[in-house]
């Protein structure tokens, strides 16, 4: 009988050796041809060794297990290993790509081995792309918008979470950032900021100002029709120019 070849990828040494140990006792015919400590190593290993099976930890430094599987689709069968079902892996059919929860139990591993043997006998390999697509959607919840502002301050670089910023104001060559911890100057222009910030949260209210809508306490309207934005715990306020006053008409 031809031996089945597999690789194990996990950034934690104890977990790799545990899985190797378990596999050795439950599937003597399986040969572990290599181990990887991060995503890139795993991908290199898969491309070099072309194993039949890859056991991939989902959260690894560098590339995630899902990303590795995406890049190596069709090369081998994949089994995802994860500590917690935060990736909603249970929602996915185990037919296409199996998964194991840490700590791995004998019973579950034996079940997975049975499935793997069945799948290795069958040809062709199942189509993974739709499962991977869904998995990576769950994984990449990362926001696309600007989340941090880096501002030179004294002899360091301050990191300011955009959620802590009341407003940005254009001043001469720079942009003033009014945050909870004070005022900072940055080089980014309002135009650049407008493009990078989440438009649902940051509104242009003036030719020279962008405001964080979440931190607005109230908007006053004078008899002349000028709207003024006020913030909680902040003496500063902002004037809304006529061109943008439609944003507050319903308020």
């Amino acid at each position: 009988m031809q031996t089945v070849r597999a690789i194990i990828a996990d950034d934690e040494e104890a977990l790799r050796s545990h899985l190797r140990y378990k596999l050795a006792s439950l599937w003597p015919g399986l040969e572990i041809v290599g181990e990887a400590r991060d995503g890139e190593e795993a991908l290199d290993l898969i491309r070099r060794e072309r194993p039949d099976i890859a056991f991939l930890d989902i959260s690894m430094p560098g590339m995630s297990g899902i990303e590795v599987a995406k890049a190596a689709t069709g090369v081998c069968l994949f089994v995802f290993v994860t500590a917690h079902d935060e990736f909603a892996v249970e929602a996915f059919e185990r037919e296409a790509a199996d998964y194991l929860l840490k700590p791995v139990t004998d019973e579950r591993l034996a079940d997975t081995i049975r499935r793997l043997k069945g799948r290795l006998a069958a040809t062709p390999a199942p189509d993974l792309s739709s499962v991977l697509e869904r998995l990576s959607k769950v994984l990449t919840k990362a926001p696309r918008h600007l989340q941090w502002i880096k501002a030179q301050h004294k002899d360091g670089v301050r990191l300011i979470a955009v959620n802590d910023i009341y407003f940005f104001r254009a001043t001469d060559k720079y942009t003033t950032v009014r945050a909870r911890d004070g005022e900072f100057l940055i080089r980014k222009t309002l135009k650049e900021l407008e493009n990078e910030l989440d438009p649902a949260q940051f509104w242009r209210v003036h030719r020279a100002a962008i405001v964080n809508a979440r931190l607005i306490q109230k908007v006053d309207r004078s008899l002349a029709g000028t709207r003024t934005i006020r913030f909680k715990d902040l003496p500063d306020n902002l004037t809304v120019s006529r061109a943008y006053s439609h944003l507050f008409r319903q308020m």
Partner: protein, 350 residues
């Protein structure tokens, strides 16, 4: 499932309150009759008592009848108008009914005795308005108490969430998986890791129950937390904790540093292939305690993790509740790589 139970409880409560308020009402009516008899108003105590009870209960009934109307609006002016109307209707109806009961006919009431009738109605309105006002105010107070209880509940819930967030499942299961793995390959290390885990659980549980902890206690939490990761991450994680002896007994809010260290590992080191070093430094500066957590990890990606979502908001909120503007928390880029978080709070020691 719990909803009907709560509703029954509510009904019992209102029924009890209803009975109590009816008895109270009868007492007040009797007191008014006594008072009026004492100042020689009306036609003797018995007649005064009967009319007073009729007026009192009519106003009471009218008030009860308008409660649904009253509850539908939130405007105080409208509520006052509703109550005044109920008192008016109740006073007139009570006087008419009462005069029947004491044997005065309606003809006499609107004929020769009309001045007396108006006096009684006016008195009814006066006392009715007074008593209604007191009742409504009492209701307000109990509502206020309810709101206070709810605020306290919210504070407790956030505390619980704090504890839970720190014991996030990924961390819990990963730690257990490691211990499980080591049991076979390296039982001695498994034992050591289990002991560290117990130490972490004990110290963080204790800390979560206290209002303040000493810096030394907080460092125990931090050290055991990092130790658990050190087993898992191997040589990818190095750390240094610098706590001068003079600051060991300084008191700080519990679990202040642990979330910062958690961020440093999760966002700085764990995702980095090379790993790195974490330092925790405590300094005394002009009557303030300065706590600095640095990591040499990947640093902040401008589009990366959401800064306010990761426990920083929670810490900021707690600091401002406890110290107002006296405490600060800010993030900087660490040199050459990574993030440096600085917290400054007024030094407090017990």
């Amino acid at each position: 499932m719990t909803e009907p139970l709560i509703r029954r409880e509510y009904q019992q409560l209102t029924l009890k309150r209803f009975a109590a308020s009816a008895v109270l009402n009868a007492f007040i009516n009797t007191a008014i009759a006594l008072l009026l008899t004492a100042i020689h108003f009306g036609r003797g105590f018995f007649s005064n008592l009967v009319i007073s009870q009729f007026i009192g209960f009519s106003i009471y009934g009218a008030n009860m009848a308008v409660i649904p109307l009253y509850q539908r609006t939130r405007k105080p002016a409208v509520q006052i108008v509703i109550i005044i109307a109920a008192v008016l209707v109740g006073a007139v109806a009570g006087t008419v009914l009462g005069s029947f009961a004491v044997g005065t006919g309606p003809a006499a009431l609107f004929g020769e005795q009309f001045p007396f009738f108006t006096q009684v109605v006016l008195l009814g309105i006066l006392f009715g308005a007074l008593v209604s006002y007191v009742f409504v105010s009492l209701e307000r107070i109990s509502e206020e108490r309810l709101r206070r209880v709810e605020t306290e509940k919210a504070a407790m819930e956030s505390e619980l969430r704090l504890l839970q967030s720190q014991m996030e499942p990924h961390f819990l299961f990963n730690t257990l998986a490691n211990i499980r793995g080591l049991i076979d390959s390296d039982p001695r290390r498994a034992g050591g890791m289990l002991e560290t885990f117990v130490a972490f659980l004990r110290s963080s549980l204790r800390a979560s129950r206290e209002r303040t902890v000493t810096l030394a206690q907080e460092m125990d939490v931090v050290r055991s937390y990092i130790d658990l990761f050190a087993v898992r991450m191997g040589d990818r994680l190095r750390y240094r904790i610098d706590l001068p002896d003079g600051l060991r007994e300084v008191r700080i809010p519990p679990l202040l540093l642990q979330p910062l260290v958690e961020n440093a590992i999760k966002h700085g080191l764990e995702r980095s292939v090379r790993g790195g070093e974490i330092t925790v430094t405590c300094l005394a500066v002009n009557g303030m305690v300065r706590l600095i957590v640095t990591d040499s990890g990947k640093g902040v990606d401008e589009q990366g993790w959401v800064g306010s979502g990761m426990g920083l908001d929670n810490i900021r909120k707690r600091l401002s509740l406890l110290y107002g503007t006296a405490a600060t928390l800010f993030l900087e880029e660490n040199t050459p790589t990574g993030v440096k978080v600085t917290v400054e709070i007024p030094a407090e020691s017990k």
